[in-house]
Subunit: 344 residues, 2 copies
Amino acid sequence: MAVTIADVARHAGVSRSTVSYVLSGNRTISPETIKRVERSIAALGFRPHAGARSIRTRRTGVIAMALPMVHGPHNQVQMPYVWAALTAAQECGLKVLMLTDDDGEAAIRDVVSGAYADGVMLMEVQRRDPRIALLTGLDSPAVLVGTPDDPRGLPRVDFDFALAARTCAEHLHELGHTAVGYLGQPPEAFAKDVAYAVHARQSVLAALADRGQRGVWAPCEPTPGGVVRALDDLLARDPGLSALIVYNERILPLVLDRLAGLGARVPDDFSVIAICPDDEAERCDPPLTSVSLPAEALARAAVRSLARRIEGEELPAAALLAPELKIRASTGPRRRPGPPGTTR
Amino acid sequence: MAVTIADVARHAGVSRSTVSYVLSGNRTISPETIKRVERSIAALGFRPHAGARSIRTRRTGVIAMALPMVHGPHNQVQMPYVWAALTAAQECGLKVLMLTDDDGEAAIRDVVSGAYADGVMLMEVQRRDPRIALLTGLDSPAVLVGTPDDPRGLPRVDFDFALAARTCAEHLHELGHTAVGYLGQPPEAFAKDVAYAVHARQSVLAALADRGQRGVWAPCEPTPGGVVRALDDLLARDPGLSALIVYNERILPLVLDRLAGLGARVPDDFSVIAICPDDEAERCDPPLTSVSLPAEALARAAVRSLARRIEGEELPAAALLAPELKIRASTGPRRRPGPPGTTR
DNA sequence: CCGATGTGTCGAATCGATTCGACAGCGGAC
DNA sequence: GTCCGCTGTCGAATCGATTCGACACATCGG
């Protein structure tokens, strides 16, 4: 049924090996022969059989992307990473096999030792991630996306949360804010010890403390009620709060709503910095000053690293991506506390 | 490096073919031999090389999932489908190769004629989808998820939008609503002729007309301003509106906010039905009466169908999934029009 | 006791590609 | 004119599995 290299060879009047050398360029072939073979390939629509090829070359041209199921099936945050990874992989000439881990780690082992893929990208690595031990055991090329407590020598790629936090703290510090609230992911993310949630919170609180700013934090459910409770909680614990750092895309409009409901104008009475993708920040009213975590860049870096690792290169232990501060309309100088402004 | 079937055979003291027959069960093997071979397999950690296997069996155990880039890279809606498909595939013993189509259709052709995958699931099929002609040309097993104008004989799976629309219209009809507004996806979805957006709108308007109800519709951006404009537009075109059907997950809370802002209580002054996943409907305040589109079921049906198609079965031309009406707190009988209720 | 009938196992061919070693032809140096 | 070296091509071995045909051996009925 399918066209094989033998069909091409016959059609072009050369041997199979010649066709193969035209394909790989591993030996010099005369220009006329190349042309003839290429014409035959095009005429017959030949594509080398990936399986057959992989058995000699020990390369499949496929990488596996292992998504953990940390937020339940309705996780909304991962798609941009997936997209970016697919695009980056395509640019590197790689295809992507997607894995979930609801079946334990069996899928990863299958894919690696069954030679379905040349390497693995572990997405959203957790602080103590059982997949790490598995991968070091399989000694397959691998890249971690996220920061575990112990990377076991595997190269990792992540956002630079420490720098992001310092950037936020610094910006608010310059504007004169001395008491800052931090709204993070839903409580279950912290309960499950989700790595980026914990790292971001730690980094923010540490950065604030470094500059002598007061900091209080709360997790936040992505519901109107959850936002009300979380904000009330923060304000009760520090009534002098004049700024907020929010790392939770889904609650941004709700937070602005609630602040308006409390009679606080943004940025006149209250400054807000979001840690989120740019388009989410721009979509809000007013557009939010934000520190953007470049998901595309992260996924791209991970794919590129893995590609290089597969080629045999040694990689640096960690590659951290710098966040970017974009000042928009939601941050301003701290006003002396006075009567709350009028609601608009 | 890797363990091959020859290693297992040597370790177990049998021939390679015997090991293979133990693996496939294609010939009777004595229980003792089976036990010995299985022990060797476990001891050596042997997994058959997928590529080598695929060249004889003409099966890879992989399916391709082709996601179109219809909403830009920040599409938030597809993840549940992806999850569900991955899970369903795992249950069927299949792995999933993900494709995007930003590279044209080359990726699909590569994967199919390069024998990377046994079949293709086309996600979010558009009304005139160029991938369809490509696939019929490649004659590879395929399943369409969505409804194109011309399926070209390919089996498809989709939500039953007509039934969903009738269900909504009927429910509102019984409650006495005679003028109903429909809020759909953002304008660009209609501009690009995105199939489900167009089909849902057509179905709703037709179902309303069938029951003698008035219907007006508008697309809607997922921003506060967009919701305000869309609602104002609907109310300007039919001031007698007493109910709303919303098919756009992201705007649900914003719509409720805006209605409250207009002084309309839900459901006393205004009924709202959402077409959305259950958890989104429950998350709102008040919880929304909804017609749920079971994304998991859709993806599962698609994967199962493809698996059967790969096994050689003929499939029905279309499999439509029935939606489910869940009555919650956002729909109620139509009141005589009077002075707007007090805001809460 | 002998031939027919199964059982269980093996050797060898096969799938579709890559790659090593060999070799034919050809031009240039001596 | 002969020999050397280079270029371009080919045949055959190889990768890791599956599967066909054959065969050794045990079992059973007549």
